[in-house]
């Protein structure tokens, strides 16, 4: 306990002194904001992608004259925390969570609405901002989310050692012939989808995302099966580093990991492949906070990221896929080649987008992850 307490107080001290300095400097800060009302945007995004500060924001500033104050955070749970604090303290305009969290963010009352007339909704590739995704972007009928980049979570396999079924399946993750690196909650979802595809579930796996009763019924089955087959899991991962080390240092031969891990390992004897059930896909995008101060700048920024050049830069920074039409001409050819090697048209049509997960669902999901880990 001791070490955590002291770290906590140290941080509180820093925050306290920063707040104190802030109060002393408040007149200066307020007046400088008042003078420069035309050119700032406070953006909270993902840490670990250096291209943003090196190139992306500078290009945007060059195009529009708007300066981006970038705050990097490691995961969206931390972003959620910051957003909650910003409801009281202000200072955040735009945040970049994934679409499956928008429901939870919105039900927490954190989000403001976008003005569609200030954006260019025609810029987006089909399926990302319209159709089912469009409905999910409009909780309560108003636009609260617009996409910025999309990517996948699929199988990385050691081409020499992994034993795959033909065609490769999510079930290979749980085969005793393979050593796997997984993250608990994704693994349970993969197990559920595999059981669903092989007809071992009493009702569709998707029911669990809308009905908590069904969720418990289905996740109990998936958990029992996953625990039974846990022996071949050699490492849990929760971020890029651990996933990578699961393969390179701990000898996993298969894993359900992000595309970026597959991209980073592509020249080391590993391949990124889509299972027959369809790869898991995510897309993330921008939400505007309810108390955003720089609303026009935020719209300008979001619109720029949907343009061919902006979308391509954004996707290149994440080593993932662009959301804007015409962006593929601007992409790094190596990243494009990597994606096209994994996803042909059939694999693309089978993509399984993470469904919405409510706050209640997330709490229950964490309990299942706990049980899986403790087994």
């Amino acid at each position: 306990m001791k070490n955590t307490t002291s770290a906590f107080t140290r941080r509180r001290f820093l925050q306290g002194s920063a707040a104190g300095a802030g109060i002393l400097a408040a007149p200066a800060i307020i007046s400088s904001k008042a003078l420069a009302s035309s050119g700032e945007l406070n953006f909270v995004g993902w840490a670990g992608y250096p291209l943003f500060t090196e190139k992306v924001f500078a290009t945007f500033e060059g195009a529009t004259g708007i300066k981006v104050n970038f705050k990097e955070l490691p995961d969206q749970d931390t972003m959620f925390g910051e957003a909650k604090v910003a409801m009281e303290a202000g200072g955040i305009d735009l945040i970049e969570p994934t679409i499956d969290r928008v429901g939870a963010w919105d039900s927490n009352g954190l989000l403001g609405a976008f003005d569609e007339s200030k954006l260019a909704m025609d810029n987006y590739l089909p399926g990302l901002a319209d159709g089912a995704a469009g409905v999910r972007s409009r909780p309560g009928g108003v636009l609260k989310y617009v996409p910025s980049v999309w990517g996948t979570e699929s199988l990385v396999v050691n081409t020499a050692e992994a034993k795959l079924s033909t065609p490769p399946s999510l079930g290979d993750l749980f085969s005793p012939d393979n050593s796997a690196t997984l993250r608990p909650h994704s693994a349970l979802a993969a197990m559920g989808r595999w059981l669903d595809a092989t007809g071992q579930l009493p009702r569709p796996w998707m029911d669990g995302y809308t009905d908590m009763g069904a969720m418990v019924e289905l996740w109990d089955i998936a958990l029992a099966k996953a625990v039974e087959m846990k022996g071949n899991v050699v490492q849990w991962w929760s971020g890029e580093n651990e996933a990578n080390a699961g393969f390179t240092a701990n000898g996993a031969t298969i894993g359900l990991v992000w595309d970026s891990t597959g991209f980073n390992l592509r020249n080391d004897g590993y391949a990124y492949i889509a299972p027959v059930e369809g790869a898991i896909a995510w897309h993330q995008g921008f939400v505007i906070t309810k108390n955003a101060a720089n609303v026009d700048e935020a719209h300008e920024f979001v619109k720029w990221v949907s343009s061919p050049e902006g979308a391509a830069l954004w996707a290149t920074a994440f080593s993932a896929n662009p959301v804007g039409k015409g962006a593929s001409d601007f992409m790094d050819p190596e990243v494009s080649a990597f994606y096209n090697g994994t996803f042909n048209d059939e694999a693309l049509s089978k993509l399984w987008w993470w469904p919405d997960q409510s706050a209640e669902f997330l709490a229950k999901r964490a309990e299942y992850a706990d049980k899986y880990k403790a087994a």
Binding site: M1, K2, N3, T4, T5, F8, T9, R12, F13, G16, D75, D77, T78, F80, G81, K84, M87, A104, S107, N108, G109, L110, H185, K230, V233, V234, Q235, W236, A245, T248, A249, N250, G251, A359, L362, A363, R365, A366, E367, A369, D370, K371, K373, A374, A375
Partner: protein, 308 residues
């Protein structure tokens, strides 16, 4: 107080008192009370905070009894709430870490205090201190590298021909966590014991030897009782630090290990439920304090002994 006033004058004494008050109130008491108050309230959307559903209850604390898992121990099967199970294992392995730390630290402390040439003592202490200067993250991560499947330990053992196939050290239950915690916290055991043994008059040991006591009896009847407060404060520190460590179990944990702090962390970050997380944090603090108090009562150590 009078003494302080006389020694430092009014202004300086006031400044010191105000600083200490500020430290305690703003940095210790207020944050903890905030967390404590939060732990009794339900996790609600921001818009509903302060609304009719925002009432005090023990619901967050009782969540520790949710979600049973089936386990078996010594052939007896039983069903136990998953978080209670995790908590039990956390306490058990923290005790194990404390015991092993004691077994490692006691001989070394005795050697440093009574046997080694006093002139080489500073060098020895320096050598022991150097690892403590390295960040805890790096030390845990260094062990992660050493124990990795394709890491140096396996390479060494295979090179020596001791094993034929590499061993998954980081995936053997709590092995990695225990190794990491011992390495991180053993010095917190060593130095209190060293202080305790050092204050023992060497003549007593010599007298016991002259009267024909075997070596183990000298330790059992003279050195150990004398250094009991040191052992107690070392054990309390190692135990509390281990049970409260998040970093080492996160880095060195296997696919079957789960530390209670990781459960708290999961409530904060995975479930986004800060209220339940606060409740769990207080449960950990409270139960560990109770546990340590009971252990001290059993071993007949008083708090005032440790303070000496």
């Amino acid at each position: 107080m009078q003494d302080m006033l006389r020694r430092y004058g009014f202004g300086l004494t006031l400044a010191m008192c105000l600083l200490v008050t500020f430290w305690l109130v703003v940095l210790v008491i207020v944050p903890n009370i905030t967390l404590f108050e939060q732990s009794f309230r339900p996790y609600l959307p921001v818009v509903e905070i302060g609304g009719p559903r925002d009432t005090y209850s023990f619901a967050n604390y009782l969540k520790v009894f949710d979600g049973n898992v089936d386990k078996s121990l010594f052939g007896i099967s039983f069903s136990i709430p998953v978080h209670v199970y995790t908590f039990g294992l956390t306490i058990f392995y923290s005790m194990l870490v404390t015991l092993i730390c004691f077994a490692m630290a006691y001989p070394l402390a005795y050697y440093m205090a009574k046997i080694v040439n006093p002139r080489s003592l500073p060098t020895l202490i320096l050598l022991l201190f150097i690892p403590l200067w390295v960040s805890e993250v790096l030390r845990a991560f260094a062990w992660w590298i050493i124990l990795a499947f394709k890491g140096p330990l396996n390479a060494l053992l295979m090179g020596l021909g001791l094993i034929e196939d590499p061993i998954r050290w980081t995936n053997m239950g709590y092995t990695g966590v225990v190794v990491g915690l011992i390495y991180t916290y053993v010095l917190f055991m060593l130095f209190p014991i060293y202080n305790g043994v050092q204050s023992l008059d060497t003549n007593q040991i010599e007298a016991a030897e002259d009267l024909g006591a075997p070596w183990w009896k000298i330790h059992w009847r003279i050195v150990l009782p004398h250094s009991k407060p040191g052992i107690a404060s070392g054990s309390v520190m190692v135990f509390m630090l281990s049970a409260g460590s998040l970093l080492v179990p996160s880095i060195l944990g296997s696919t079957t290990s789960q530390w209670f702090t990781q459960t708290i962390d999961q409530w904060f970050k995975d479930a986004l439920d800060w209220n339940t997380a606060s409740a769990y944090a207080f449960l950990l603090l409270l139960l560990c304090t109770v546990f340590v108090s009971v252990a001290m009562w059993l071993f007949k150590v008083k708090l005032s002994d440790i303070a000496k």
